[in-house]
């Protein structure tokens, strides 16, 4: 027993040597360890605060800091590079952000289409083996232009072209057109994502001669491009309006057809199959009304034929009789040809008063 007492006494002495780490509070201090934040909602001692402000504040803060650090020292520790670190929990306090929450980027038209069709991007190698040059050529960027130049030191002029055309110039213009088209599509996507209405651009400019349909379309668009949407424009004798896919949308004043949503591959397959089915299982349809009418007509024709055959010798007799209400072939009676009754007052002329 002596040993036990001795140890207990020693412990007590040891504890007395150090100041305590426990703090008593009337209300519990609200601690957010993730933020290293402690908020003490206990009432302040106003008398002490007035009398000795700094000492009071320091003591108060010390107590609250002790409580906060007690909580932190309870957390599981780790050792990293001769330092003891603790893992802090998620902070509870919500602080306003500096910028709004990022919105997801709007998909481009192609991306939308690819998504609906399940098309995934194929990764291309940065370098490709060129058989002609016998070396690795990058897909784009540094050294691509040099390789292209080396490769195309001579370009053949095709037979259908003017022999004096500069093929290098032609190639360059084609390339710049592609770039411009891409830029236009980028802007269109931007406008679409912002829901901005963009004016119709009409026909794209082509480097080559325009063909007949393009010219026709251009003429139709130009005609409709007046303030009254081409209503008062003269027409040529045999003029036709341009038709075709996508032309209707280009003409001003025409109602835009609402586009159907892009069908999924499954839907598309079904549609195609059903169409094929309908074609293969086609049977002649009977229009009952038409058939009945035709039948009646045939009968009537037959009957009239018979009548004509039987009554042909008496045909002249009937004419003399006249006045048959159902005979539409007779001449219409004309006014003013009949006999007048002189005793009756004439109905004609102005009524005099």
């Amino acid at each position: 027993m002596d040993i036990v007492n001795e140890i207990l006494e020693r412990e007590q002495k040891k504890a007395e040597k150090y100041k305590s780490i426990t703090v008593d509070k009337h209300l519990e201090v609200d601690i957010d360890v993730g933020c290293l934040l402690a908020s003490d909602t206990n009432d302040l001692d106003s008398k002490l605060l007035e009398k000795s402000k700094d000492i009071f504040l320091q003591a108060l803060t010390r107590d609250n800091t002790q409580l906060l650090l007690n909580k932190i020292w309870e957390l599981p520790t780790e050792r990293a590079d001769e330092a003891i670190i603790v893992k802090l929990p998620e902070p509870k306090t919500v602080i306003p952000r500096a910028k709004p929450v990022p919105k997801p980027k709007p998909l481009t038209k192609w991306q939308e289409f690819a998504k609906s069709k399940g098309i995934t991007k194929k990764k291309k190698d940065k370098l490709q083996w060129d058989e002609q040059l016998q070396k690795w050529v990058p897909l784009y960027g540094f050294k691509k232009a040099a390789a292209e130049k080396e490769k195309n030191w001579l370009i053949e002029v095709p037979q259908n072209l003017d022999p004096m055309t500069d093929m290098y110039e032609k190639k360059a213009s084609e390339k710049s057109e592609k770039v411009a088209k891409n830029e236009l599509q980028r802007l269109k996507n931007l406008a679409r994502s912002k829901k901005v209405k963009i004016p119709r651009v009409g026909l794209p400019v082509t480097s080559d001669k325009a063909n007949a349909t393009q010219l026709e379309t251009a003429a139709t668009i130009a005609k409709a491009s007046t303030a009254s949407l081409g209503k008062f424009q003269d027409k040529l004798p045999k003029e036709k309006e341009a038709r075709g896919k996508g032309i209707h949308e280009l003409i001003p004043g025409k109602e835009r057809k609402r586009k159907l949503p892009i069908p999924t591959p499954q839907q598309e397959r079904e549609n195609n199959l059903s169409m094929l089915d309908s074609i293969l299982s086609k049977r002649p349809k009977i229009d009952m009304d038409k058939a009945v009418a035709k039948h009646i007509n045939d009968e009537q024709v037959q009957r009239s034929e018979e009548k004509r055959n039987t009554k042909s010798p008496k045909a002249g007799k009937r004419k003399t009789k006249g006045g048959n209400a159902t005979n539409f072939s007779a001449k219409k009676p004309k006014a003013g040809k009949g006999q007048r009754n002189p005793s009756k007052k004439a109905g004609s002329g102005r009524k005099r008063r």
Partner: protein
Amino acid sequence: MGVIQRVKKPTTRKGKKVLQSKEPKPIEGPKQCLFLQGRNPSDRTRKLLKDIYDLKKPDGAYLSRKNDFVPFEDATLIEKLCYKKEAALFGVGSHSKKRPHNVILGRTFDYGILDMIELGADNYKGMKEFHNAKVLSGLKPCLIFNGPAWDLNQDLKRLKSLFIDFFNREKVETIRLQGLEHVLSFTATESGNIYFRSYKILLKKSGQRTPRIELEEIGPSIDFKLRRTRLASDDLYKEACRVPQELRTGTKKNISRDAFGSKLGRIHMGKQDINRLQTRKMKGLRKTPEEKKQFLIKRKKEKQAAKQAQNAVAE
């Protein structure tokens, strides 16, 4: 303004990177702070802002030139400068007879003013006047808020959030125990006084694992008085406090952990048909041709009934 929203594409790779760095992110870094001088700043407000700037380093910029503007009347200058410097916090010092030693602290959201709170510095003792060793710069301080007034008064509630915003620095996953050496204490009284104190933590032996804390004042020590405020509307504040979807932690259904930390899942199964269960095959239990026929007819009838019911539903 994100890169995608711009009509003009950035021409250089570096320019693109700069624009991308300015785009809103789900997890934001520490907010930058801008310290400005208003009309006729007093020596005290200059020093005070400088001290706060020292505490805020390296996430801040101190602009020492005077600016002839009144933030509460026209805050466009602040918005402009905050946009230019990519800062979300600001402090403006000014001095007038009506409002001596005036300090305005505030923050912006989406380059527009969110909160702005005016404080008068009644008493001030700078960091230099305390002749002792200071803490390292860039440390994450412990924040202590004393007094019930912080939760009772609406203005003070917002001021508390603003102070946390100012000194919280960034969110950290882990912290070194020896690195906890700075405490900022904010005490609010009912009369609208706010006592700002800064202490260094001294870790003493306590005979236990947890050390005994002693504090040493290192400055600055400021007695603020609450003046005018311009707080954000609840809608805007709520919008600013929105947590992105990817950071929101929703509870997953049917997953739990037991006391030993092993993951338990609960799955739902359809009703079992015991009659159809295949048991041991024996010659005696085999169906006779008659029974088989009966069974097939029965199943056919069932199927027909189901089909009819389905058609009825469809119509």
